[in-house]
């Protein structure tokens, strides 16, 4: 109880409340502008948190994350372009409602169900995090290695369309983390005699480059090529909250979509888009009235409620593996993990013992963030959407300056600025050849834990691989890895069959 009160005291100070408000607005804005992502916003904000106190910095990051997840629905409804991949499912009925002149009620409904979904998932998260961390505290290096390997397999398997290309990217991320001094023996790896290389590739610098620079290059290239970067004029916008009767009517759907979103969010590598589309399909399929069912796709409120509840419930779910096991589920939580790490906090079961107030602060920060996002979306949406009028190339210039300065201030090192630019170029090239960059980030995040636990386990076992099958948890994780790979292979075979059938049918 004392820890809870300490956490409450830490969060309810003006600095944190102001940071949450600013973060919420930044998140909504980045979420609402197509092309900009909340992952990019998080990467840009991260250097600012470096000089802040831990609770202040982490609260700022969380509010950006939550604002971004909610803000995606704004452009999805108003202009039919999803601000974030998570809001792609909202476009189907949200934009159809806007075309019918019901944009205000669609926006209001999206805002309120996002808040409800997020807050309910927070409750589930609190229960699950506590339970899993109590279980995970008994894990030794072998179990952690197998767990991280499982996390890696799900990330590469589920997150992208092509398993092999995702694996290439994931392995490159793991490779990047081996550059520098070896953690256990202090031996130099791939440093080529350069002193700066001893500290390796900084995860945060790489993330800033991978998320921000490709976007900047793309916008500049379009402009230089005389292609128009689209700015959107959405006119006057209002948010109208739905009545109690509507909320009551859809309460069952909201609860089911919250559960769905939380579960999917807690699986590393799945995330918002999958949850939103599954929830949309569930809402449509569970509609018993044929007339109502026929309205889906042509402007049905259920088509906004289901995906928006589910994608916001993902935020709570995604925090479960992050806080309880130290495994991020998506790029956004990977950056938030980076925020923890730069303050010397290592998420996982030990954090509950060593720094319990931080965990409770996270819970309170998420709660307040949802309230702040709700307030801003309801009362200032007409001002916030004005940012959609800004030309992307002007935003790109501002973002470029921010990323360079941000990369420098992380360690006051120009080497980091050059690394950031190189990673940005890699990101751009990967985007162009359709290799996903998300697994690179997740490989970098998991790389150090993977290697250090592998090597510690091997030291403990005297070089025997049997240690990786010596406990129930190890066998369980190994079975899950095999299952994930098996499912992927099955999917590949199905794809081949479908392709052959299509070819045969001309």
């Amino acid at each position: 109880m004392e820890d809870v009160l300490i956490a409450l005291y830490q969060v309810l100070v003006p600095e944190v409340l102001i940071a949450i408000s600013i973060g919420s607005v930044i998140g909504i804005v980045f979420g609402a502008i197509p092309g900009l992502t909340y992952s990019m916003a998080l990467a840009l904000i991260l250097p600012f948190t470096f000089v802040m106190e831990s609770v202040l910095g982490i609260s700022l990051l969380l509010s950006v994350y939550i604002g971004g997840m909610t803000g995606g629905s704004v452009s999805a409804i108003l202009i039919g372009v999803p601000g974030t991949p998570s809001s792609a499912a909202t476009v189907i009925d949200g934009f159809a409602l806007a075309k019918k002149g019901q944009a205000s009620i669609a926006l209001g409904t999206a805002v309120i169900v996002s808040t409800i979904g997020g807050l309910l998932s927070l409750v589930i998260m609190v229960i699950l995090v506590d339970f899993i961390s109590k279980f995970a505290i008994r894990f030794g290096p072998a179990e952690i290695f197998m767990l991280v390997l499982f996390g890696f397999s799900t990330i590469c398997g589920l997150s992208e369309k092509n398993l092999f290309r995702s694996l290439v990217a994931g392995i490159l991320g793991l490779m990047l983390m081996t550059i520098g001094l070896d953690d256990i023996e202090g031996i130099q790896r791939f440093t080529f005699g350069n002193v700066n290389m001893l500290q390796g590739v900084n995860l945060l610098v790489a993330m800033i480059g991978l998320f921000a620079i490709p976007h900047i290059l793309e916008v500049f290239h379009k402009k230089m090529n005389n292609e128009e970067n689209i700015a959107y004029d959405v006119g006057i916008v209002k948010t109208k909250l739905p009545g109690w009767d509507i909320l009551k009517k859809y309460s069952g759907l909201m609860l089911r979509c919250t559960g769905l979103g939380t579960v999917i969010g807690s699986i590393p590598g799945s995330g918002g888009p999958i949850a939103a589309f599954l929830a949309y399909a569930h809402a449509k399929n569970s509609e018993k009235d044929p007339k109502e069912k026929a309205k889906y796709g042509h402007g049905h409120l259920g088509g906004v409620i289901a995906p928006e509840t589910a994608n916001n419930a993902v935020t709570g779910g995604a925090m479960v593996p992050l806080l309880s096991l130290g495994i991020p589920g998506d790029p956004a939580t990977a950056i938030i993990l980076g925020g923890f790490l730069i303050h010397g906090l290592i998420p996982g079961p030990m954090l509950f013992i060593e720094n319990a107030p931080i965990i409770y602060s996270v819970y309170f920060a998420i709660f307040i963030s949802y309230i702040a996002v709700f307030v801003f979306q309801v009362f200032s949406i007409k001002y916030l959407v004005k940012i959609l009028n800004i030309k992307p190339e002007h935003l790109a210039v501002a973002i470029f300056i921010m990323v360079v300065v941000g990369a420098f201030t992380l360690r006051n090192s120009f080497f980091d600025v050059y690394v950031m630019l190189i990673m940005g170029l890699v990101g751009y090239f990967f985007n162009r050849i359709q290799l996903p960059v998300t697994p690179i980030v997740l490989g970098m995040v998991l790389g150090e834990t993977l290697e250090s636990n592998y090597r510690t386990a091997m030291f403990l076992s005297g070089g025997s691989y049997k240690i990786f099958f010596s406990s129930i948890a190890c066998v369980l994780f190994f079975s899950l890895i095999l299952l994930t790979i098996g499912l992927q292979i099955q999917k590949r075979i199905q794809d081949v069959k479908i392709q052959k059938l299509r070819k045969a049918n001309g």
Partner: protein, 158 residues
């Protein structure tokens, strides 16, 4: 780029990279103490092998004509030129930041980007935007966050 050529290029790229990586694993990392399965080379070696296998898989996909879901726009010379110009501008800014500091290099690069790269004609964007942007970042980092910004090695000499 045709789908088939893409898979051939991808497989050759991945195989070449993994072979270079494996070469570096043995020639640039000293062997450490401990078991052979547990040295600083172990994980990098394993990763190199995994990447090599993936390269071979892409090659097999190319020869078996199984190429899933890939339709990319071809690289054009103009895109290459534009990206190179941008990267050179970014590098110049980074060097300038190091040499003359944030307050001098930032308004200049913003002016350069808006005026010559983006070809903006509005005086507000060309002259006011660089000053406002530089000033805002300076105030945020120096006064609000009490952090530091590059002061410039040349400037510091005087």
């Amino acid at each position: 780029m045709k789908k088939s050529n893409f898979y051939l290029a991808l497989s050759l790229g991945v195989i070449t990279f993994s072979l270079v990586w494996l070469f570096l694993v043995f020639y640039s990392i000293q062997g450490g103490f401990g078991e052979p399965r547990n040295t600083p080379r172990t994980i990098p070696f394993f990763l190199g092998i995994c990447l090599l296998i993936l390269g071979v898989i892409f090659m097999v996909q190319y020869f078996l004509s199984y190429r899933p879901k890939s339709q990319m726009d071809p690289f054009r010379l103009v895109e290459f030129r534009n990206v190179v110009i941008c990267i050179i501008s970014f590098l110049i800014y980074s060097y300038a930041l190091e040499a003359v500091g944030f307050l001098i290099s930032t308004p200049l690069i913003i002016f350069f980007l808006t005026r010559f790269i983006l070809k903006e004609k509005s005086w507000k964007l060309n002259y006011l935007f660089p000053i406002v942007m530089t000033g805002s970042i300076y105030i945020i980092f120096i006064y609000l966050l009490q952090s530091s910004l590059p002061r410039g090695t040349i400037i510091q000499l005087f």
